[in-house]
Symmetry: C2
Amino acid sequence: MAKKEKPFDRELFFRALADPTRLRIINLISDQEVCVCFFVEILKTNQPKVSRHLAYLRRAGIVAARREGIWVHYRISTPNDENAARVLKVVREWLAQDADMQQDRTRLHRICCAPELPVQLQGSPRPTRIGMAV
Amino acid sequence: MAKKEKPFDRELFFRALADPTRLRIINLISDQEVCVCFFVEILKTNQPKVSRHLAYLRRAGIVAARREGIWVHYRISTPNDENAARVLKVVREWLAQDADMQQDRTRLHRICCAPELPVQLQGSPRPTRIGMAV
DNA sequence: TAAATACATGCGCCCAAGCGAATGTGTAGG
DNA sequence: CCTACACATTCGCTTGGGCGCATGTATTTA
């Protein structure tokens, strides 16, 4: 009844990072818990696409999901593998410095901190900062 | 006449890391200059395959080549992008700890340090340690 | 239980990437 | 030159991944 841990899949991990949409998602999450609907809005794409990329990141151990009623919140997950965690940390710092990525975060910040959410997001739970165990 | 530097391609960089053969090559190079023929021998594969993966790593700015007569030596190249360089550093440390990767390095070490090279490698220049600027 | 909402997944299409086999390129030696 | 050698590249094939679209699932509310 021990050892649920599957051996960490390094290939899957790197492939997960080898896609611009997934990197944008990782960047958008930052140190928050973000509802799926916000990704759809910021990335200006359709919901299935976002959902599939989130599933990919989940399988790779990069993000974790938490359901709250009808909504699902995503946050960064520290990979099981210590070295993968180190890589992810550096990658996130890299993204944080990128101009386009900063724009994405700015747009998310503008939307979720505005007094009124846009029509598509009425009633959606806004992103919330979470404690980063690092 | 300035700025030959193309803007660093982050996607290409990550895709380069998302392949087991290319990771094995990165690991084998370690802090040496290694002749192509040794990759063919250690990876137990054909020469075109190795050559294509090496070309991929070159385009991604991860390795550099140096011709010496009929032989071509490959070494790790520090990526133009500072953050990419940080990622690569962590990735290489990761590989260095991996059991399978250690086996590869051991086999390379055994072959190139033996008094007699195997038949396929007769006359090939052995890998040589190079100064790592880090 | 039925409808609405938010998200996940299955399906088919297309394109990129990896592969083996053949061919091309550059270099040393006769 | 011509050959031999090491390596690079091209070609055709096959596979995997991302995409849009349609459908499935889970949860809340009426």
